[in-house]
Structure formats: C-alpha cells, structure tokens
C-alpha cells in the first residue's frame, strides 16, 4: 500500500508532509482515525508543524467531505453521499464518530458483540485493579504483559471499575473498583478481599516487578 516513491525523506521536513499521498488532510485523518478522544487544533498544529489556521481549514474541509460534499477541485456528479462517519467538533477538540442516523445499526452491532459474561482478559484485569488499586492502566498493562485499554474501558462501562484520581507522579488516571463490584463478589468493602499472600509466598516484594516492562 505504501507508495515507495513518496519523497518522505526530503530534507527540510516542513515540505515533506504535502508530498505524501493524502497530504496534510491525510495526516489529520490518520490521527483522528486512531485517536480515542477529541484532538485539539492546537495539538494538531504542534505535531504537524503547520499554522493553526491551515489545520482548521483542513478540518472543515474533511468535515464537509465526510458529509458528502467534495472540494471545488474535484467535482462529483450526482447527489452528495455522506460517509458512515462524521467529524464533530466537541469539547474543544475534533473526533470522528459513527454518523448519527446509523446509531441503531451501531447499537445492534455493539449489543450483538457484547457477551453478558466478562472475558478472561477482563476478569484478570479486574483482579489486578482490585488488588492494586489505585492503579494506572500502564501499570496494569505492565503486570499483565498486554495492552489493557479496551478491557479497562469495558470494565468502566460495566460499572465495575472507576477512575479514582490522577497519579501524583505521572498524572495518569488511576482506577479502582466500585460498590457494584463489591456487591457482585459479595463483600462489604475492599478490605474484605481474601488475602492472596497464602497463594503466593513473598508477594510483598512484588512491587518491583510491576514496573518492569516485558
């Protein structure tokens, strides 16, 4: 898929972006497609090293394209056909969402895919959070050896886990378990969680392993 001839390696990097297939708009799309929260124009401007007005213009153009209107330089015959997604400006940033009028389809998909039981990955992540709270996603991820972002999200959606505070050092959000969790496992408080030391001698010294990456 990559255009091997693309002169991406050009010296004086500011020019290179426009030479890549898709150019500035493509770069913005690439970012917005994988960002899981709104991205501000200021941040885009910073990362892409382009003036904020230029970024803003590109965003509005993209928004119009997704809504079915094409740029003046590429006229399309026929009625405007919107894409299944849209670019919305919310909470001071931009984010791609499913188009609203497809929300029932999206709901069908989400409901169909969601098992009424927690996956093994979700249970294990929940266990780590329960015993290590308050704990950041990065730390849980280090303990489990895999990325846990979507699993933590599921647990938050399920109301079993909640964002407690920010890590004083890194500023990363830290998670803990909820009252609903306690209710499900039949406990009055987190302190009543069975000790896990008997299962594992020397657990106390485990702290140092947590932060290692594997």
């Amino acid at each position: 898929m990559r255009d091997a001839s693309a002169p991406a390696e050009e010296p004086g990097g500011t020019a290179a972006l426009e030479d890549l297939p898709g150019g500035l708009k493509g770069a913005i799309e690439a970012i917005l497609m994988v960002a899981d929260q709104p991205v501000t124009e200021a941040r885009l401007s910073l990362v892409l090293e382009r003036p904020q007005e230029q970024v803003q213009d590109a965003l509005v153009e993209l928004q119009r394209e997704y809504d079915g209107y094409t740029g003046a330089d590429s006229p399309v015959i026929g009625p405007a056909v919107p894409r299944g997604f849209e670019l919305r400006s919310i909470a001071g940033g931009w984010r791609i969402f499913s188009r609203q009028h497809f929300s029932s389809v999206v709901a069908d998909f989400v409901l169909d895919g969601r098992s009424a039981r927690l996956s093994q990955a979700a249970l294990e992540t929940l266990a780590v959070i329960a015993y290590r709270q308050p704990v950041s996603r990065a730390r849980v991820s280090a303990i489990r050896g895999v990325a846990v972002d979507s699993v933590v999200r599921t647990l938050v959606q399920r109301g079993l886990v909640v964002e407690l505070d920010a890590d004083p050092v890194s500023g990363a959000a830290r998670y803990g378990t909820t009252a609903l969790f306690l209710e499900r496992v039949g406990l009055g408080s987190v302190d009543e969680l069975p000790r896990i030391a008997p299962h594992l001698p020397g657990l106390e010294s485990l702290g140092e392993y947590d932060d290692m990456t594997f």
Binding site: V34, R95, V110
Partner: protein
C-alpha cells in the same frame, strides 16, 4: 554487532532483550570488518543456541553450509564455547549439552578429515555413522537456517505493521449504555485465586527436577560426611561394611559412599588394602600422618 551484554551471551533471553535480530542477521550476511581471517575475535553477540553460533561462524567465512571447512569452523566453535564458559562461570546443563553435542560432532568430522583420505570407499561402520552424523547435523542446520529466515521475515512484518495503527475508539456513551445484563459467576475466593495467578512474578522459574517420587527422604552427603568423620575418629580404621552398618536405607548407603569419596579427595581419609581384592580399610588421616 557486539550488541549483547556479557551476561546475555548464549542465554535464552526470554523475549526481554529486544531487537537483536537485525544485528545478528547483519552479522550472518556480511563478514564484518572485525573478522580478520587469521585472528578469531570473540564477538559478544547474543547467540540463540548452538545452531545460531555455528551458522554465524559459517556465514562469516562465506561458506556454504553443506561444504563447510570443518577444521576452521570447528576450532572457532570450540574457542567460542570455551570463551562463553569462561565468561559465564558455569553453564546451565541443558544449554551446555546442546553446545557440546554440536561441538563433539564437529570435532568428529574434523578428525575424519584430517586422517589420510584412504580409498574414498566407506570402509567400516564408524565411517557410516560419521556420514550419518554429518548429514543429520547439516540437515538440522539447514532447517534452522530456514526458520531463521522466516523469523527475519516475521520481524520485518511486525515492524511494518507497527507503523499502522488500528482504530480503537469507543462508541458514544448512549450506545455504550446499551449493555446486556452481566452474568457474574466469580466469588471472592475465585477472584483471589485469579489475582494470585495474575500477580505472580513471571521471571524464570527455577529449573527444579522433581525427585519426590524417586527418593522418600532427602539424605545429605554433608551430614553423612560428618557421621563418617565421627565414626572414623572414634574407631580408627574401619571397613565400608562397618561404616554403613547402621545405614537405614539405600539412600543413606549411597550418600555414605559418595561422602567417603569426598573425604578421600579432600585428603581426610586414606584407604588401605592388604591384598588384591581384599577388603578396603578406611582410616582417618591425622595431620601428622
């Protein structure tokens, strides 16, 4: 090229010392400027086993696997594992045996090459066994090389794919709110067991050979040494039969025997045999002896 640390040499790195493939494969492709043909400079590369080492040595000299100049490569291989051993202090048993098996096979082959060529006719069973050993070694080496190629291929694919990022953004909160009722089965106890498993350290498990089914009780050679020393100091010279009279089990018997060898090696006891095939007498050596 000299990428791995000394501690890493020859060890399974367990996936934690990243990205050595590129460097190792570079070494395998082109003989670096550091490899003067006359002097073998030991490279502290993270060799991933004996085949890896052997392949690297072969390709460093730009030789075909199937026609390796055995004498040279064998010497380098031996020199290398000697060096590794010196650096490591000691080997892990399973690693060492793999390296030594390859080294022994190479040595056999080298020896055969050095001997007068003879008539070229396979003469005895020893020759045939040698040919088989050689073919087997080459076959395994070829096979390993193929998988190494594939590993490089996978590496490039992984690297390339890492440049593409999948979309992983949650739906809108309204959609997220649509959740089927959770069916929950875990009790607090289940949960604790799960947590204990997940939180367990994941480093190397010590390689413990389970012997519980073999020996009912552990017998310490050290302890038995002490027992022997006491008996001998008390009674002067004794026969082995006398020394083991109170032995309650075969394990104790064996441990006493080994302890006796230990003591002899240390110069603590001496053996005395009156006539050929006569019973040995063991005596405690005093300093003035």
């Amino acid at each position: 090229m000299a990428h791995g640390s000394v501690q890493d040499v020859g060890k399974e790195s367990g996936g934690q010392s990243g990205g050595d493939l590129a460097s190792a494969s570079d070494g395998a492709r082109a003989p670096g400027p550091t490899t003067a043909p006359s002097v073998f400079a030991v490279q502290l590369t993270n060799f991933s086993g004996p085949f890896d080492l052997l392949l690297t040595l072969i390709s460093r000299r730009e030789l075909d696997v199937t026609e390796i100049a055995l004498a040279e490569v064998t010497d380098e291989f031996i020199a290398h594992i000697r060096h590794l051993q010196a650096v490591e202090g000691q080997w892990k048993l399973d690693e060492a045996s793999e390296f030594l098996v390859v080294a022994a096979t190479l040595l056999d082959l080298k020896a055969a090459k050095l001997l007068p060529a003879g008539t070229g006719v396979v003469e005895d069973e020893g020759d045939i066994a040698l040919l088989e050993a050689r073919d087997l070694l080459f076959a395994r080496l070829l096979q390993y090389r193929a998988f190494k190629e594939m590993a490089r291929e996978l590496f490039h694919r992984l690297e390339e794919e890492a440049e593409r990022h999948p979309r992983d953004a949650p739906p809108e909160p309204e959609v997220l709110a649509l959740l089927p009722e959770l069916r929950w089965r875990s009790t607090a106890q289940d949960f604790a067991a799960l947590a204990a498993r997940v939180l367990a350290p994941r480093g190397e498990e010590p390689a413990v050979v389970e012997t519980g089914h073999l020996v009912s009780a552990q017998v310490s050679i050290g302890e038995q040494s002490a027992v022997l020393a006491e008996l001998l100091q008390l009674n002067g010279a004794m026969t082995f039969g006398q020394l083991t009279r109170d032995g309650s089990s075969a394990a104790v018997l064996v441990a006493r025997f080994l302890a006796l060898l230990d003591l002899f090696r240390d110069g603590s006891v001496s053996f005395d045999q009156a006539a050929p095939l006569a019973e040995l007498r063991v005596s405690w050596r005093t300093d003035d002896a």
